[in-house]
């Protein structure tokens, strides 16, 4: 490791950046080089310390001297005084030490500390309905640069060099996609945006479109210029009314300001953009199906090749990029490929937005550098389990196309490659965190119910295969599982993956395969012992009170809808199995962990119960 005489920590919080941190940093770097000090002094950009009002600020170590209100003009003097002569430059020194503020700063809270905001650069900061506020945050400067100072080839080169990969899930290099389309000769080409976010538990794209619609439009203008498209469509689900409204206002504002239409920003480039509302079919997130849907046909995929870059919308060369991908474009054009690569890994550069949901404390939207350990996302940013007493069990990444990553793999770095190795996929970025009370067979069944339902029916492996798998899973969760079911599921999965027409079928078995891979014993215990150890599958469990742990508080007794629990105050209670319907209420009510889940008990069903209640849940 190189040794530095001094470290300069410059605040790069939004506040300081708005006041000019980056300009001061460049000036400081240049001045240090000029004075021959660049090898001795290292400049590091850091998170916010809460001194925004005095920004830009910086802290110089080892002395620990704090400078405020830095300007480019003051830099030479500062370098001369502090770094050459070795005495503090009093003019810019922090006058009186700030009183210790009881409110924590961004860098003290893990949720904020680990995030690097690029896609979400305007998150919670600008009014999404004001184009002026977007412009004030360097908005459309990248478009101006791309249209007036760069050739399409140069734009594509920067994007290729940056290593930006499609954030929709598959991770195909964006620059390459643009290059394929750019090389096609055609009078009409299309630049398309995929805002058809359909995974259960994912809300990244919605948040970006709602919070910063112009960042998507700017990405599209730049992409359109690169591939030579003059028409564009944003395909967004009708179920996202707020996103639709804000996108519509943003497009209107762009036309009013001449950022869409003819001769944008004084260049010879013209681009028209419209919105298309999708009806919410999951398969329409697949690129060829999405294009059919825009054409007014039924949203069904078709075999590739020909790829959309050759024959896409209306059989014209087209590029379809995900919302998050497009929102990354403008900063790359503005700051360059090197800047983009400064975070993330070699093969997965940059940042990724994740939607954290499930049994996690900080449900929310986060943006992290690629390569960050999964553990950091879940335990630090996410704050761990919502219920502190419960242990983490698995995280479902990538929605219905992804898989469940177990506790044992929680230290993997989050990159496209490492996630694929676990059997999951990065997907668009939904992260559903599950605690120990989650039944993995039921989880797999939930996702398969979704894909079986959303299968468009065009190809047999997906249409029939997912249905057959779902039937087997239903049998397993209801006590009709048999030896060999697990192997059948695995075989079927392989066939469906190999033979399906589009990504929906090719990835649909992933949740099943990963849960079998990591939680095989749970499947086995469902099938052999008729025992769902989490007590989720009501036909495969029974509930028992451990006498030693029961305090006799009567909480479960009062909560039981069946009046199946008996016992006196301060004495251990008991569950009458004949009355119990395994609704799990007592289990979640008990504060002392006295209720345990046992295997299913064969019981004489009271005649009344069967005729009135049908088959329960």
């Amino acid at each position: 490791m190189e040794k530095y005489r001094a470290n300069v920590l410059m605040c790069a919080g939004t506040g300081c950046v708005a006041s000019g941190t980056l300009k001061v940093k460049d000036a400081l770097q240049a001045e240090l080089e000029k004075q021959g000090l660049a090898d001795e002094i290292k400049i590091v950009l850091t998170g916010c310390n809460g001194f925004c009002a005095e920004g830009p600020v910086m802290l110089v170590y080892p002395e620990g001297i704090f400078y405020q209100r830095l300007t480019v003009e003051e830099v030479p003097k500062l370098v001369e005084e502090h770094f050459l002569k070795g005495r503090p430059y009093e003019k810019l020194m922090f006058k009186e030490p700030e009183k210790k503020h009881p409110i924590p700063t961004m860098s003290e809270i893990p949720f904020f500390k680990h995030q690097v905001l690029r896609v979400l650069r305007n998150k919670g900061l600008i009014d999404p309905e004001s184009i002026e506020e977007y412009i004030a945050r360097d908005g459309y400067l990248a478009a101006a640069k791309a249209l007036n100072e760069m050739t399409p080839e140069e734009i594509i080169k920067v994007i290729k060099d940056s290593g930006l990969r499609g954030r929709g899930g598959a991770g195909f290099p964006t620059g390459l996609k643009w290059e394929f389309a750019a090389k096609q000769k055609s009078d009409v080409k299309y630049m398309l945006c995929n805002g058809d976010e359909g995974d259960p538990g994912a809300f990244m794209d919605r948040s970006v479109m709602e919070a910063d619609p112009h960042s998507v439009i700017e990405g599209m203008i730049i992409g359109a210029r690169a591939i030579g498209a003059n028409k564009g469509v944003i395909y967004v689900r009708a179920e996202y009314p707020l996103a639709v409204e804000r996108l519509r206002k943003a497009i209107d504002a762009c036309y009013e300001y001449g950022l869409l239409g003819e001769n944008i920003l004084g260049s010879d480039f013209s681009f028209d953009l419209e919105l298309y509302l999708g009806a919410g079919a999951f398969v329409c997130g697949e690129e060829t199906a999405l294009m059919r849907s825009i054409e007014g046909q039924r949203g069904m995929p078709r075999p590739r090749p020909p790829f959309p870059a050759h024959k896409g919308l209306w059989d014209k060369p087209s590029v379809l990029n995900n919302v998050e991908t497009l929102a990354q474009v403008a900063p790359i054009i503005l700051h360059g490929a090197e800047w983009y690569r400064s975070v993330g890994t070699e093969k997965s550069p940059g940042t990724k937005v994740f939607a954290l949901t499930g049994d996690i404390k900080n449900v929310g939207l986060v943006e992290v550098p690629m390569g960050i350990p999964l553990r950091t996302i879940i335990y630090e940013i996410g704050g761990g389990m919502k219920n502190k007493k419960k242990k983490f069990k698995a995280v479902q990444i990538g929605g219905p196309s992804g898989g469940c990553i177990p506790e044992s793999l929680i230290d993997i770095p989050v990159t496209y490659e490492d996630v694929v190795k676990t059997g999951a996929i990065m997907g668009s970025g939904g992260m559903v965190v599950m605690d120990e009370d989650t039944c993995m067979v039921s989880t797999a069944k939930f996702f398969l119910e979704f894909t079986a339902d959303e299968s468009c029916g065009k190809c047999t492996p997906c249409r029939v295969g997912t249905r057959v798998m779902l039937d087997i899973l239903t049998d397993i969760t209801e006590g009709r599982g048999k030896e060999g079911d697990i192997e059948t599921l695995e075989d079927l999965s392989k066939d469906i993956i190999a033979a399906s027409l589009c990504g929906l079928g090719q990835t649909a078995p992933n949740p099943v395969l990963t849960t079998i891979r990591y939680f095989r014993e749970e499947y086995e215990s469902h099938i052999r012992d008729h025992w769902c150890k989490t007590g989720i599958c009501s036909k495969l469990c029974s509930f028992h009170i451990t006498e030693d742990l029961c305090k006799g508080c009567q909480a479960c007794l009062r909560a039981c809808p069946q009046q199946a629990i008996v016992g006196e105050k301060k004495k251990p209670h008991r569950i009458i199995q004949e009355l119990c319907i395994q609704c799990r209420t007592c289990y979640t009510t008990c504060k002392f962990g006295a209720i345990k889940v046992g295997p299913a008990i064969k019981k004489e069903e009271p005649e009344l119960a069967t005729s009135e209640k049908g088959d329960g849940q």
Binding site: A12, G13, T14, G15, C16, V17, A18, S19, T21, L22, L45, G47, C48, F51, C52, A53, H101, P102, I103, T105, M106, S107, I109, F111, F112, Q115, V116, L117, K123, G124, L125, I126, D127, P128, E129, E132, E133, I135, A136, Y140, L141, A144, N148, F203, R206, S207, E210, A211, D212, L242, Y257, G258, N263, L265, G266, K361, V363, G364, L365, V366
Partner: protein
């Protein structure tokens, strides 16, 4: 409106940056109500109405009340960000009408942040 040129872009940028920094423009405070779908579902519209009501009652003309998208911490919505001139922004979460009125009185008008409702101080890192 005539077509924008790059020069116009820069002018708009400079003009509106003032409201971000609050150093110029004659405003003393800026209150951002986070109104993504998550915020609205948790009651952000009501928070906005309460804020506007308090501003009207106080007859204050030096406060910017504005909206923005999701602040990222959906679990703590409704959220607002309060920025007073010369002070770092402070984010509040889990708000309701009462807390909003209290924050208006104590922090926005009185200049004293309410620690028990505050989540974090400062601005986010975007480099």
């Amino acid at each position: 409106m005539p077509k924008l040129t790059i020069e116009d872009l820069k002018k708009i940028k400079e003009k509106h940056q003032a409201t971000f920094k609050l150093r110029e423009g004659g405003y003393r405070a800026k209150v951002t109500v986070h109104m993504g779908t998550c915020g609205i579902a948790a009651g952000a519209r009501e928070i906005m109405n309460v804020l506007l009501d308090e501003i009207a009652k106080a007859n204050a003309t030096d406060i910017i009340a504005t909206t923005s998208g999701c602040a990222g911490l959906c679990a703590r919505e409704p959220m607002i960000t309060v920025e007073l001139i010369g002070n770092p922004p402070i984010k509040y979460g889990d708000l309701n009408e009462e807390k909003m009125r209290e924050i208006f009185k104590e922090h926005i008008m009185g200049g004293k942040p309410i620690e028990k409702y505050a989540i974090v101080m400062g601005s986010e890192t975007t480099y």
